[in-house]
């Protein structure tokens, strides 16, 4: 199976203290791949490289199985892109904007109505864009990026600055799209979002990948050797794994005093802290 995205030893230098340093990763078809890191880690720079807004210094990049420099125009018709520097036409309504992009991409008008319903903007479709809230604009931008049902979707912090209800709607839409076959490359500094949506993630720090794998794999990899037990008296007890702890838990269970037993796994933010010694 050909990778949708393939980077090998990609470097980029802006002359700053760090750059993209020998990035290597791949994204397989049907995945939701998360690219995580704090602000300034290089997530957006990587996204720009993949969408040809920047040129790499060295290394190789393949998109949809083709070298990025040799990719044809028709290949880019299979890609949808939403970045934090996208904009729509403010003097046009949401619907007019989407109809414009639909016409550009050769999409039927009925598909515009379909997408408007999916992003829950159908009732507001006649609203002029400059009167729309941030959440509405973001959903309109997402709609424009997915109008043509792309095989590969690039999303650069798609839920940044949005309220929880809107975020949930966008997440649902992305999961639906992924179920229908769209591969999603998502950059975010929201660890919860990555945990919820992504099948695999890479954690980036100062231009380098410091960890990669599924969220569950990473949590198990960095899991502490501890177990947390809550008793019926609502007392939390942290035990180190071992025969003595097993015996103690056994006694609690026999006495019917054990409410819950959990292994202690770090969240992605704690993993990042462990790896880098700094917070997000």
């Amino acid at each position: 199976m050909k990778e949708m995205i393939y980077l090998n030893e990609v470097c980029l230098d802006f002359g700053t203290s760090f750059s993209l340093d020998h990035l290597t990763f791949q994204v397989m078809p049907g995945e939701i791949f998360g690219f995580l890191g704090p602000s300034g880690a290089g997530k957006t720079t990587t996204m720009k490289l993949l969408t040809k807004q920047l040129h790499k210094k060295s290394g190789s990049i393949r998109i949809l199985g083709k070298d990025i420099e040799k990719a044809e125009r028709s290949d880019y018709d299979k890609i949808g892109i939403l970045t934090d520097t996208n904009g729509l036409y403010e003097r046009m309504s949401i619907e007019s904007n989407l109809k414009f992009f639909a016409e550009l991409k050769g999409i039927k008008e009925e598909d515009v109505t379909d997408v408007l319903r999916k992003v829950r903007l159908y009732d507001d479709r006649k609203t002029i864009l400059k009167k729309c809230s941030k959440g509405m604009r973001q959903r309109a931008l997402l709609a424009a990026a997915v109008l043509h049902r792309p095989e590969l979707l690039f999303l650069d912090e798609p839920t940044s600055g949005l309220d929880p209800a809107t975020i949930q709607e966008i997440h649902k839409m992305l999961l639906d799209m992924n179920q229908n076959g769209t591969t999603i490359f998502l950059t975010t500094h929201n660890m919860e979002e990555a945990d919820k949506l992504c099948g695999r993630i890479c954690i980036l720090n100062q231009g380098k990948i410091i960890a990669s794998g599924s969220p569950e794999q990473l949590k198990l990899q960095f899991a502490q050797d501890k177990i947390e037990v809550m008793t019926t008296e609502k007392e939390k007890i942290v035990l180190t794994k071992g025969p003595e702890s097993a015996e103690f838990i056994g006694r609690l269970l026999s006495a019917d005093k054990c409410l819950t037993i959990h292994s202690i796994e770090p969240n992605l933010e704690e993993i990042f802290l462990q790896l880098t010694g700094r917070e997000f």
Partner: protein, 240 residues
């Protein structure tokens, strides 16, 4: 770089509709016509029976300098400022389609403006073919140069900083040519001056040398504009 006619047509339609919805740009293309109507009503001082000639030249001058410079550069810089240009590029619209749409939109507007100016000035229809050829040729190099201004500008504010000196450079020499030999010489090499020269020659009697000279000046401007456009587009085409 291939051009999709469907995309070009869609962009062009949108640009025309947006032009009609943007008061600042729409008013700019009405100004030459309003000036012609104004002068027609109050009379042209020192016209000495050449009122029609004056009105026609005045309309041509304003259209080819003010409108042809303002419209493409302002619309391009607005698209850069509002990030809609980036959205278009990321929607698989290539640069040639984008700029060609702006150039065609401006050509349409300035062509119609010149036509209405011709009618309002009350010029003889015999001059119309010469007028159309010279204004289309003359405006084309200014429009492409204006697209260069749009590429160079980060936003509309910085665009106007570049537009004004260019407009003055193209306007002042022809307006004050009689005041000085230097300005008279400059008037012959700015696009409007060459356009006017071409118009006078094409409407007769034709002198090959003068036609060649006018066409030569306009061709040089067009080539320089295209080269500058290609250079700055390549330089600014990506974020690095």
């Amino acid at each position: 770089m291939s051009i999709s006619m469907r995309k070009l047509k869609t962009l062009y339609k949108r640009d025309i509709v947006d032009y009609l919805r943007t008061p600042s740009i729409a008013v700019c293309s009405l100004m030459p016509l309003l000036f012609i109507i104004f002068y027609k009503n109050i009379g042209v001082p020192n016209a000495a029976g050449n009122e029609t000639e004056f009105l026609l030249n005045f309309g041509m001058m304003l259209n080819s300098t003010m409108c042809a410079i303002m419209i493409p550069s302002t619309t391009i810089s607005e698209e850069k400022e509002k990030f809609t240009l980036r959205t278009l590029m990321l929607s698989n619209v290539n640069a040639m389609e984008f700029f060609l749409s702006k150039i065609l939109m401006t050509t349409t507007i300035t062509f119609l403006g010149n036509l209405v100016a011709f009618i309002l000035a009350g010029a003889d229809t015999v001059q119309l073919p010469a007028y159309i050829i010279s204004t289309l040729f003359g405006n084309s190099c200014v429009i492409v140069l204006s697209a260069v201004i749009g590429i160079l500008s980060r936003d509309q504010m910085s665009c106007s900083v570049i537009q004004i000196p260019v407009m003055l450079l193209f306007l002042m020499p022809p307006m004050f040519a009689e005041a000085s030999k230097v300005l008279e010489m400059l008037a012959k090499v700015v696009p409007y001056g060459a356009m006017l020269q071409l118009f006078y020659q094409l409407r007769g009697p034709m002198k090959a040398a003068k036609i060649a000279s006018a066409c030569g000046v306009l061709t040089v401007w067009l080539v320089v504009s295209v080269v500058l456009f290609a250079y700055f587009y390549k330089k600014k085409g990506t974020d690095n």
